[in-house]
Symmetry: C2
DNA sequence: AAATCGACTTGACTTGGATCAAACCGGTCC
DNA sequence: GGACCGGTTTGATCCAAGTCAAGTCGATTT
């Protein structure tokens, strides 16, 4: 704190208009003068290291954040002290909205590796939104989408099978990487097995076993955090719970 | 349809200012002229019967709703065709926000018994919010709260113990009834065991058994849908998972 | 009062995944 | 090189909750 303003701040303050994430981010659908107004709210941040926290439980709402490089996780801590991962946030994804309801954060946001964020002071954002209907609508839409994601996640957690959850998880990540213009078939998981477990409501051993099983069955190839999707159709089937029977039948056959 | 406008429409169009739910509802914190502007958006509706649907999956976003009497459930339907209950909505609670992200509903809302809603056409609501910063903020806040509720629910679903979930559920309902000025210690469940099961990610038999267990242990009294909280402290302990050991120890003792 | 029906409870059995425990793998640091 | 360490895999065992199958209860109808 109280550092002299670093010289590269100029570089960091690149505009949304030039950002490759523009259409996947809060500015999506906002143009011209309105975009300039929104840009005035955005503060770009110095790089973060693995484990750096953007906010903690109980912090008053100051800003919401958008990952611009790297991945973040948000973790909630229940009264028993257990951590559970609420979500993983890839570039272009907004987080920190959890404090809007009460004015205080109920979870904490942690960088999973080297990362960078755009910070939007909430007061300014809301003020600007009050003047720009397009931004107001977009803000509501983004919150709605985040809520939709929560509901999908909720659905995943009520689905029973562990390997279904893993299959869905891998599929979902692939889809998100693809949208970012990266390879969806092969990627590096930015999180540990334990973090996946806490996200999916499973024990870490179960996560590991499920990965191994999908690997054995030839749907994906897993080596540590390196994942490759080999049979996307089968993975999709596994994700929607169709595979269970098929596989059992095949196993029975091969045994008998 | 095309009914002549019923005479009691006047009665139905009672103002938010006179409504007992005012401070527990969307208008909370909005006063004077602003409240009048909000009221102009609200349409009051004829009574609904058990099973009536307000919207279905895929319906385009028209309105959001607030229960004014009775209880609603929102249910999501996943691609396997299974229904899971996303939430129960008591008077004063806003729902239908699920369509804001995409413009289409991803769940359906069903009355659990005789009920009544206030309907707020979303276009008008957003338009009015754009002109009233207090409403804009309140709308964001309500969405944030709804998202917080989802996250608490998510936490419940990752907690393992079935009776913990039931204890939390009963506690939560009691709390909500109390806020509505009704008795929190004794109430009638507006939903079936099956609906609770689909909400908590359990089998209906497990729900039934968990109720019986909490009953046996003297925390609550259950007779069909009638629930009475007898030992709130023990229930609270059960809800946070502290009871498991205690009870087991006592059982062991009484057996030995 | 008997018959029907939906909601609920209870019992017996089975199983998926948690838990405990041990080994393994790939970095990094002496 | 070897020791160490966090993350990961794999094996063995156990238990909570799911599934299947009877009942029971209460409300409504005949």
């Amino acid at each position: 704190m109280n550092d002299p303003i670093p010289l590269d701040l100029v570089r960091l303050r690149r505009s949304c208009a030039e950002c490759s994430l523009q259409q996947l981010c809060l500015p999506a659908g906002i143009e011209g003068e309105d975009l300039k107004r929104l840009e005035a709210v955005v503060q770009r941040r110095r790089p973060l290291e693995a484990g750096d926290r953007l906010f903690r439980v109980g912090d008053p709402l100051q800003s919401v954040f958008i990952a611009s490089e790297g991945t973040f996780k948000t973790v909630g801590i229940n009264e028993s002290g257990e951590e559970h991962v609420l979500g993983f946030h890839l570039p272009g994804e907004l987080f920190g909205l959890d404090a809007i309801g009460t004015g205080y954060h109920r979870c904490e946001a942690i960088a999973l590796g080297k990362a960078r964020v755009c910070e939007l002071p909430f007061g300014e954002l809301a003020g600007t939104a009050a003047q720009l209907p397009s931004l107001q609508l977009q803000l509501l839409r983004v919150m709605g989408q985040s809520s939709n994601r929560d509901q999908d996640h909720l659905d995943v957690l009520t689905r029973r099978q562990a390997s279904e959850r893993i299959a869905l998880f891998v599929q979902g990540l692939a889809e998100r990487y693809r949208r970012l213009g990266q390879a969806g078939n092969e990627f590096q998981l930015p999180m540990t097995r334990d973090e996946i477990a806490r996200y999916l409501g499973l024990a870490l051993e179960t996560v590991s076993r499920s990965f191994s099983r999908l690997h054995e069955e030839g749907m994906i190839s897993v080596r540590g955090r390196r994942v490759r999707i080999i049979n996307a159709a089968a993975l999709h089937a596994a994700a929607s719970g169709c595979e269970a029977e098929t596989v059992r039948v095949e196993k029975r056959r091969s045994r008998g």
